[in-house]
Amino acid sequence: MAETDFRQTLRDFIETECPPELRGYPHRFPAQVSMPWYKALHRRGFIAPGWPVEYGGMGLRPERHLIFIEEMEAAGTPWLHDAGVRNLGPAIIAWGNEAQKALYLPKMHAGEHIWCQGYSEPSAGSDLASLQCDGRFEGENLIINGQKIWTTSAHVATHIFALIRTDRSGKKQEGISFVLIDMSLPGITVRPIENLSGHPDFCEVFFDNVKVGVECILGEPNKGWAVARSLLGFERIWAGSPKRAFKVLLILRQRMEERGLLTSDYWRDRLAQAIFDTQDAQDMYAGFADLVRTDGAVGVEISALKIWSTSTFQRLSELLLEVAGTDATLAGEGAEDLLAPYYESRAPTIFAGTNEVHRNILARSVLGLPKSA
């Protein structure tokens, strides 16, 4: 399909299926609010643009995938609770047995299962491999006790994929299992955490003698670190996506026009800088996305993309406040809330590996600098 036809198809679809009241909201809606849109994407086969076609994906090439994202963002379609299709789906496709693929992929695709990612713990942030959430084998079951934190969407999720310590005898990276857990099981408690913007987006999750069958382990028991690592490519390409900055760029441009700033050389220059920074991130993203698509592994250089895209998102959100003048001091609502992109842009430099951890990775693994003193 020609690019213009592809764009038109998407625009027509959005126009028909995405209700205006869901557009342009700067936070994630509760799942039940955005679910009609999720379902519409599912029905049309648009919910998993990066998955292979045989599993209900679109198998899009990176340039097309970017166009897909551009059109979705330009129309202000809502952000979804989509850690499942985005992150876990590719892992199940790569590591799952046939029973797991059959059980999880269709329901994830249909929005019947909403997934969250249970990695971080109170004492295991940047040093994730030191995680302690305990899993004890009892026959064909695994008994889980412990806590996860900063778990995005846990308050709306039906399932959690979690890294659980199932063996303590070896190195810390060994003895971790990648476990798929139904959150309706007895013993699971979720406590939402209010973030800077006043919205509950992440949570604490407590496990108290939660019993799951060993068939819920993805990949081999005690080899979950390898599964999690194989997802890093997808996680980082997602974390490094320029779509967040692009969304702010659209708002910036609109605000500048409304305020008549584009007759000023100064503001035109600032806008051009924002456009360049974002489009350049898109060029970088497309190259890495191509690598992810090819073999799921992008190598360590992708840390550069994560750092650039997330810092660009922050710079643009701060420029938006400058453009707004004194309006920027007002706490607004909905699309009028100019502080929303500012708040939203704080997390990406921290999640999916802080940008400082990514600098360590670049220094050691790409540039080959000596081990830190």
Partner: protein, 374 residues
């Protein structure tokens, strides 16, 4: 210009790389600073023999008919021997001659290195956003009057291509570099290579093209050369990064390699982020440009690529000097050759502020409704 297959580009990259490795000589570069023409006859001969001068020329004129990608590979590779001169100025002039559909004999002589044209478009008050309104005039008797500045390759040039206002609008006029009606003053850039000022007084010439055709040819040649300059900057960025990373690994203080300190590791990592970003922007858009005909779209791409490489080069220069410590501010360190070359290139054919303005002229013309491009 047409695109080429990947194998041809690999071979070209290999040939340029070998040439650069063989001829990189910091002492020779320092010795010929502030002298004319700023390069050796041997270098020119090699460029002609290797076919690099013909890269931008159409095949029917004995050229290779290759895309901007190929010229970019040459310029980037030549950063390995500290400078792509006189390649850049000749590429610029060659693209004008090609697009003006100059006569085939002229182009063939150019490809062989037998004539050395230089483009004289810029005047003191002009930049890439205002190239269509020169004060230099072409009279009805086909003589040129005016003053041109920042002419790369003026020293050693056999011909000049001069942009001038004529009764038919903008004209591109070919004139010989002989003394009648022409005097040349040479300024030297930061790296010690010359740029000429031309004083034209009743200087006779022949019109290559005029009106919209001249405007389009000039615009296209400047956009393309700007991206080729960006490619040379990329080469210098890679060279400087290699020098500085090696220094971080080998220089010891407090009993350890300084590259083991996290403060410096993070600075180096941030430099890599910019290097990698610049690489992605350059390579992605070189392939785009090879397959893109729309002049406005090409101009917008060129502006964005060039601004990114200008900014990256300036940043890597600053950080490299800092990380080298006192060694970074010596002329003796070969880093200095890349530093001075970058300073000579960044402001030529559009610094980043000019590139952004140029981009906005196309994306959102003043007074017009923005066309929705962001």
């Amino acid at each position: 210009m047409t695109s080429v297959d990947a194998d041809t580009l690999v071979l070209l990259r290999d040939a340029v790389g070998k040439h650069a490795a063989r001829t990189a000589d910091g002492r020779a570069i320092r010795a010929r600073r502030n002298s004319l023409p700023g390069y050796t006859p041997t270098e020119l001969t090699i460029m002609a023999e290797q076919g690099w001068l013909a890269i931008g020329l159409p095949e029917e004129a004995g050229g290779l008919g290759l895309g901007v990608s190929a010229a970019a590979i040459v310029a980037e590779g030549l950063a390995g021997c500290f400078t792509a001169d006189p390649f850049l100025g000749l590429f610029l002039a060659g693209r004008i001659l090609s697009q003006a559909k100059g006569d085939v004999d002229l182009l063939a002589a150019f490809a062989a290195g037998d004539i050395l044209p230089a483009l004289a478009w810029q005047e003191q008050s002009q930049n890439i956003r205002s190239l269509l309104s020169p004060a230099t005039t072409l009279s009805a008797d086909y003589t040129l009057n005016g003053k041109k500045t920042y002419v790369a390759g003026a020293a050693g040039a056999t011909h000049f291509i001069v942009s001038a206002a004529s009764s038919s609008g903008l004209a591109l006029v070919l004139t010989k570099a002989d003394a009648a009606g022409l005097s040349i003053h040479h300024d030297f850039r930061a790296d010690g290579t010359p740029m000429g000022q031309l004083h034209l007084a009743a200087k006779p010439g022949i019109v290559l093209c005029e009106g919209e055709k001249a405007e389009a040819a000039l615009r296209a040649a400047l956009d393309e050369t700007s991206v080729v300059i960006a490619a040379e900057l990329m080469g210098h960025v890679d060279q400087m990064m290699a020098l500085v990373i090696e220094h971080l690994k080998t220089r010891h203080q407090f009993g350890k390699p300084i590259g083991s300190f996290q403060a410096l590791q993070h600075r180096a990592a941030d430099m890599f982020v910019q290097q990698r970003l610049a690489r992605a922007v350059l390579d992605t858009n070189l392939s785009r440009m090879d397959g893109l005909d729309d002049a406005t779209a090409r101009g917008m791409l060129a502006a964005r690529v060039r601004a990114r490489l200008n900014d990256t080069a300036q940043y890597i220069v600053r950080e490299s000097i800092q990380l080298f410590g006192a060694m970074g501010i010596t002329d003796e360190n070969d880093l200095s050759l890349h530093v001075k070359r970058c300073l000579s290139l960044i402001g030529w054919l559009g610094n980043s502020a000019e590139q952004r303005g140029y981009y906005m002229d196309m994306a959102a013309p003043q007074g017009a409704r923005p066309n929705g491009r962001v």
